[in-house]
Symmetry: C2
Subunit: 337 residues, 2 copies
């Protein structure tokens, strides 16, 4: 049984904790939380809680929520840490993990230079094999890596062009904006193109990002130059082979990110998550070696299965296909539809 610590129980951490807990070969030894808030209170029903430091431990002791100790005490007892602390904290935290001689997985907010490998399950599972410090790329890069790596395997991809329409902030945030404006990332390319190259061996990846006032999902307009000529049906058939990609249709009423998130709820997913990358069937347009499609990304949850697979790769526990299959079965990920 792999013992996992979850450091940081925000948008990603809480979901990775539940996904790890659902696996047969791993368990959550404890979660690290800074504040004794409503999220900690709910978490205490399922997990042992540790504070991020001594000061935080004091805050817990003055609350009704019990923390068993500090992060360092939790680290003694685990095989690996999933670090889901806020962006930029990784540089500080990695020193703690090194001192404790523990492997660690970071999230996409950290720089690729911090770690030995960047991770995407479909794209480069083996690159993290046995590694100590790995980064699961961001939600947007993970989403692109999934569909693009599928196309790479079957069609060959010479060039990626994508416009990323980004959600402004997550649904549980009430601080950030914009609330009524469109804000482009000036400068070209946006960081997503270079980031994609950290997980896929791809020649050219050009991305432009535009922030818009919504909280639900990102949307990508993807335009690929392939190594061979294909049809729309080839693409539909291809995507059906991948559990973490689903094809959806406007004819079924799935015309925007609003209905896609409603689908996540109807599927009975905790928090209404949609781990799969939905690609609109009607948006798939193939013309000789040119393939276009539009996909959406549930930014809160799409990287969760990748975190689980990264654990198995780093601990050399399961090969790519076995790990992905186990993760998907446990999380009830049900592409291949």
């Amino acid at each position: 049984m792999i013992k996992v610590a979850i450091n940081g129980y925000g948008t990603i951490g809480r979901r990775v904790a539940d996904a790890v807990r659902a696996q047969k070969d791993m368990s959550v030894a404890g979660i690290v939380k800074r504040k004794p808030d409503y999220v900690a209170r709910e978490a205490s029903r399922n997990y042992r809680i540790f504070s991020s430091d001594k000061e935080s431990l004091k805050a817990f002791s003055q609350s009704s929520i019990e923390a068993e100790g500090t992060m360092e005490e939790l680290l003694d007892d685990v095989d690996i840490v999933v670090d889901a602390t806020p962006e930029g904290q990784g540089e500080k935290n990695i020193q703690v993990y090194k001192t404790a001689r523990k492997k660690a997985i970071f999230q996409g907010g950290e720089s690729a230079a911090l770690v030995e490998a960047s991770f995407n399950a479909y794209g480069n599972f083996v690159d993290s094999w046995g590694k100590d410090y790995v980064r699961v790329v961001s939600c947007n890069t993970t989403a692109m890596a999934r569909t693009v790596s599928a196309c790479m395997e079957k069609f060959g991809v010479r060039k990626v062009e994508a416009t990323i329409i980004r959600r402004a902030t997550d649904p549980n945030d009430s601080k950030k904006g914009p609330i009524n404006a469109i804000e482009p990332s000036l400068g070209f390319p946006s960081h997503h193109g270079p980031d994609l190259k950290t997980v896929l061996k791809i020649g050219e990846a050009n991305t432009v990002a535009i922030k818009v006032p919504t909280t639900l999902m990102h949307v990508h307009v993807v335009n690929l130059t392939l190594e061979k000529s294909i049809t729309q049906d080839d693409t539909l058939d291809l995507f059906k082979e991948y559990g973490r990609i689903i094809t959806v249709s406007g004819k079924e009423g799935l015309i925007s990110t609003a209905q896609l998130m409603d689908l996540g709820k109807e599927m009975g997913r905790k928090r209404g998550d949609l781990f799969e990358i939905p690609v609109w069937k009607e948006s798939i347009f193939a013309n000789n070696d040119n393939l276009r499609y539009i996909q959406a990304v549930h930014q809160e949850s799409d990287v969760v299965p990748e975190n689980v697979d990264a654990i198995r790769s780093m601990l050399q526990e399961k090969d790519k296909e076995t790990s992905i299959e186990e993760t998907d079965r446990a999380m009830e990920i049900r592409g291949k539809n």
Copy 2:
């Protein structure tokens, strides 16, 4: 003096009325309004008001706002009609104009098949020369036609690729959505690409449109394949030659459509309009024969100067350069910055 009737006093009609009124060679003979609402009340300070039909005339007679008669009476007295009625009304209205033997300009919501020519001032001013029925293309197509036609003249354009991030509705509407979702136009290309070809002689124009929850402006990510190699400076210099294109900078605080609309207000424009198409300097990326840039579109106002120029082309009053110069001077359009 050219006598102009404005049929429909909504988002576009009211602005075209003011723009016509500002010209030295034309005047507004009257506006046609359906309802005696707050917009009609304000309009009555500057314009003679006519009702859209007998029923509407009755509504006016029961209000405090005077209507001098119905549309047909106004038509007797004018050289040309600018039809700015709701999308799809044009097919019905053109019969009325034909019976009255009056020239008419329609807006981008009408089909290209309804008219003899589609119009963009920079793109194809002469195509409407002497014509009776002309359509000014939509706000998005007008915006693309401006910057793309500039590039065509100087660089030659082999292919247009654009992603259009569309505002959900106009600021004075409180009915439509989405309010928290991203909604792609499924199917490829969106209507904008073919529409662009009605005003520019261009081989390939591929567009994708994505609706987002904001009311202020549209944003376009434009990707051109040119006939020659150019630099960023070539592009900046080019756009400065055109009064209806302005280059703006994030360094000046113009980082989103929110600040661009604030600029329109600070410029002292009535209704805070921004007739010019702003292109972000930092977004201009030139690599050999590939040019990318991001531009915004004030959907309520960018087609207004085109309506004025279309009048002069159809009545064979002024050549392209003279008309554009007169329109811009009267409207205080001040690109070439």
